[in-house]
Amino acid sequence: MSQTSDKTSDKTPQTTEDLVNVTIDGIQVSVPKDTLVIRAAEQVGVQIPRFCDHPLLAPVGACRQCLVEVPDAGNGRGFPKPQASCTLPVAEGMVVNTQATSPVADKAQQGIMEFLLINHPLDCPVCDKGGECPLQNQAMTNGRGESRFAGAGGVKRTFPKPINISAQVLLDRERCVLCARCTRFSEQIAGDPFIELLERGALQQVAIYEKEPFETSFSRNTIQICPVGALTSAEYRFRSRPFDLVSSPAIAEHDACGSAIRVDHRRGKVMRRLSGNDPEVNEEWITDKDRFAFHYADQPDRLTYPQVRDEDGALRPASWTEAFAVAARGLQQAGSAAVLTGGRLTTEDAFAYSTFARVSLGTNDIDFRSRPLSAEEAEFLAAHVVLTGPDNGGVTYADLETAKTVVLVGFEPEDEAGAIFLRLRKAARRGTRVLSIAPFSSRGLQKMYGTLIPTAPGDEPAALDSLLGHADHGIDATSVVLVGERLATVPGGLSAAAALARKSGARLAWVPRRAGDRGAVEAGCLPHLLPGGRPVADPAARVDAAASWGVDSVPETVGRDGDAIVAALAAGEIGGLVIGGVDPADTADPEATRAAIAAAGFVVALELRETEVTRAADVVFPVAPVSDKSGTFVNWEGRVRSWEAVLSNPGSLPDLRVLAGVSEELAALGQGSPIGFRTVAEARAAMAEMGPWDGERPAMGDHPRAAAADGVRLATWKQMLDNGSMQDGDKHLAATARPAVARVSAAMYDALGPTVTVTGDRGSMTLPAEIAEDIVDGVVWVPANSTGRGVLCDLASPGTPVSVKGGTQ
């Protein structure tokens, strides 16, 4: 839906000067300058065996498996000895003979393979990697069948079997071929060099510094790139064989990055998830959360059948048809009704909620922002976010790499969008400057070689203003500003970001936290936007949408946003509520949200697992997790990321099917029309038919800024691994979460000691304190959802000051 037809591709074709002609195994091929021979050979269909080589890591030439013969280096002279093709760039006129044509190269490779195997254990039958092991495969293609080492009575090097290098990662040192992919990934890509090679000779081994375990947000990519079974995960170890697994491509659902993943499943059960390979998005890396957080869908509290509230006030199981009818009757009797959705929705489901609100309930009271929000944000989304995408000049991952400067505001990429973090770190290593408007330099910012623009929460608008005309910072058209969703809580923040972009020419992108958020914007789960960015306030847009939906009209007035819906429910102005994917604890005022749900005359909940919302609902519909349905996430770039259902589970229906059922029953009762689609495919067709709005985009006004409040200001965001319910079910993953600490200034630490109690208008939290060296005076940071019920429930309402005193635990 964010697609438009005008393509502004800036890709220029390779000019002939950039190409180098080489002859590999007698076949001439032209490849870009600086291409390594090992990859040039792939162009002629020759796979040279390799272990240490990885296209996204710097060449190292350690394993020597990829030796080739180079009779002519391009200067008429050859190399006297075989060369490692993974470190040798092509040269014009170079002649390379691989194992396919050169006995010398073949013998060299066989020799290396034999060496690699002398100290490798013969435990393939019980090794997790067996069946998908580059060592196993290449030993078959480039090795000898019989071992001369064993035949001559050789004694292998042995180590005690696996040792934990973190709660989740196990290391089998016997299997390790010391290719250093894992240590190089940690150092070059993740920036967390917590593993390193120690000792020497055949006793060399990967090891950790015992006081700094291998706990990073990306560490398990090392398991995936390990070319042998040396690194395994506690989660997947001994759970299945690769040849029993079915692999399906999918998109990760834990953040707005749209990372490509591969889901490996067996007999209807997800066994593991791996990174996909999408050079334009997440390259070959995913966060540990994307990799391991999938057991939330098979927890015992998963809903499996519809329920309705009986006359005795208890929920009882019901058939689908009964539940549809009860829901429709209840909603009709409740009078007006509103829709609240959360971040887990696919775009198709979001479109269904959006359609359901308009055509069945006859309201624009719908909001996907189940978190602190603002009217300013709604304007910002309509003016600067909806319908932008890679095809119409929207900021992309690739743009982050080419930008001279990237400004982050209200956004902590390492915790909130892992793929952006890795891309920014890659960019920064090549010279992109990262500026972060934040209260202190996070470890993530340091890893991006970033510069802090020290800013207390609430002061972001002034900090954004200060970037204009700032001699050192020089924001211009080569810059990118990444705005996190948290900036919505700062009055004037988003308009200041928009003004900075307008005045400097810098490009602007909005990064939400959840996978479904951007799709919900596009699908119109907002009180002022219909699907495809159609403004409710624009009569032509309303007519356009109504025509596509096949209804006479859509509601004319801009609806209530999430906070107003909560207030209206509590006040009795709205009677009915359709709610899906919302955790009251995430909302700006959790107590108010809970009270509103309790006060609502009739609540229909669509949920994956039993929650406080389903317990309070009158009708509960179980819905399918992302693995059970086809869907689409629109990522922060506006890139459309679709997948097909991984598992086939007939009892597990997408939200849109439930809404279709309820809308049909409502129509039968004389209220509204059916939403018009029952399947994901039909929803996609309906979305495509409606298409993007081609009319004028509403402008954004200026918004007042708030005066600084007295007291200590609270900074907070969610850490990547925390108490989020979608991380339930993997204790090894949870064990690698960063512990909850309060970050304070050195002065505050000295005054208050190693434990502090932070008190706000909703309660107190007592946490161990850690010094953040450069934290702005008068600011304390706590993780938003790593302790208790989270900051919004237990500590303070958004934007309010707190007090900090020494505390004991």
Binding site: K81, K107, L116, A152, R157, G201, Q204
Partner: protein
């Protein structure tokens, strides 16, 4: 060719308290430095080029040419690094030199740094030789006190600081890029080249890395002239060098002579082979250079002739073994050294040395069969030229050369069911008349 000794570097070794600045200066020390500081740095590089000095660390790369590779338009600082990590079995020239006359090295460092426009120089000394480290540290301290080092040396406007760095006990750090890694505080493992150290060496800056003896030869070239230096030696291997004789000779030690001298002449100078014995095999340049035998006694010891004889001049570490020595045993001991010192970075060296030791062990104990010799040679073939650095190549040299010259002796172990030699016979405390 001359057969007389040419003591230059070793000339002061017999002086009273030779390691002190006073002794060194009383015998003309630091005059070359004063002369050099008045020269154009490029002229010094030209002089070293003209002298024909080739690297004394083993590879024999022309020193002046190495210096001229330093890109002088590179805005980064330039560094001189002296490789004093002398660890090759049999090699013992740099350590005695630094022990006896450390100021020769310090003076060479000053002149060389000035030539390449380096304001920082590092002397990386093998960590095990604490006494030598202390000697060099003391010499550097004395040089600072005398104004030979520091800011504005003797009013020349030239600044130089010298750091004496102690290694941590790894043979691999004698490999120049591994040395740089160690100097930067990392694990000593060789780096991928390119970039070469001359472009991006220490701290990614242009760096010259030279052996102790190369740098110590520079003052004499500046003092006595390139022509004087080039008048010694052979056509392509100019000058003099320290020949370290060890093993079964009457007077082991360091003999400084023009390149091109023969082992026969050196053994004569050393008083001959151990009384009552005869030469069996020898290494021309440490254990990493293929063995030679008595038939090579008259090979001129310069880079070309030793190369033509199938070995390498290396570090001129002449280990002399007489007929009491079991070649299999000697080779196994060397191979155990390489296994212990392999850094682990690349497969052939790491795994290959692990295996070579086991194969040789079996052969020494008379186990296995003649086909194991072919296996051994095939392993060497799979290591030589396949490893990341020269350590792996070096590990194969004693094995393949010993099989070339002494295949029968290997076979004798198999026929004898073990080593046919009396291991005591080769020791210095061997009983009179002990024989093989």
């Amino acid at each position: 060719m001359t057969s007389t000794l040419t003591p230059v570097l070793t000339d002061d070794w017999d002086a009273e308290r030779s390691w002190t600045l006073a002794t060194y200066e009383s015998r003309g020390g630091y005059s070359a430095m004063r002369k050099a500081l008045e020269m154009n740095p490029d002229d010094i590089i030209t002089a070293v080029k003209d002298s024909g000095l080739r690297g004394r660390g083993g590879a024999g790369f022309p020193t002046g040419m190495k210096w001229s590779f330093i890109p002088q338009d590179n805005p980064k600082p330039k560094y001189l690094v002296v490789n004093a990590d002398e660890s090759e079995p049999g090699t013992c020239k740099d350590i005695p030199l630094m022990m006896a006359t450390p100021h020769t090295l310090v003076e060479g460092v000053i002149i060389s740094s000035y030539a390449i426009r380096a304001n920082h120089a590092f002397i990386y000394i093998r960590g095990e030789v604490l006494h030598v480290i202390r000697r060099v540290q003391a010499a550097v301290r004395e040089a600072y006190a005398a104004g030979h080092l520091g800011k504005n040396i003797h009013g020349s406007g030239y600044d130089l600081d010298v750091v004496v760095h102690a290694g941590a006990g790894a043979y691999i750090c004698g490999e120049e890029t591994a040395l740089l890694e160690g100097l930067e505080g990392r694990r000593g493992q060789p780096r991928l080249r390119p970039p070469f150290p001359a472009v991006a060496g220490l701290y990614a800056s242009p760096t010259v890395i030279n052996n102790v003896e190369s740098i110590a030869s520079v003052p004499s070239i500046i003092g006595m002239g390139a022509d004087w230096f080039a008048s010694m030696g052979t056509e392509k291997s100019k000058g003099f060098g320290i020949f370290s004789l060890s093993g079964h000779v009457q007077r082991p030690g360091q003999y400084e002579a023009p390149l091109g001298i023969t082992l026969r002449e050196l053994i004569d100078l050393a008083g001959g082979i151990r009384e009552g014995h005869e030469l069996k095999f020898w290494t021309p340049g440490g254990s990493s250079t293929p063995l030679l035998t008595a038939e090579h006694l008259d090979v001129p010891l310069d880079f070309e002739a030793v190369g033509a004889a199938g070995s390498m001049l290396g570090t001129r570490a002449l280990q002399i073994f007489d007929e009491t020595t079991c070649v299999v045993r000697a080779v196994l001991r060397w191979t155990e050294f390489y296994k212990h010192e392999s850094c682990g970075k690349c497969t052939p060296c790491r795994e290959g040395t692990w295996w070579l030791v086991q194969t040789l062990n079996r052969l020494e104990n008379g186990q296995g069969s003649e086909s194991d010799l072919e296996l051994l040679l095939d392993q060497c073939d799979n290591i030589l030229g396949r490893a990341f650095c020269a350590l792996g190549d070096g590990a194969t040299s004693p094995i393949s050369s010993s099989i070339q010259y002494f295949r029968d002796e290997y076979l004798a172990h198999l026929q004898h069911g073990g080593c046919p030699f009396d291991p005591m016979a080769s020791t210095v405390f061997a009983a009179e008349g002990a024989t093989a």
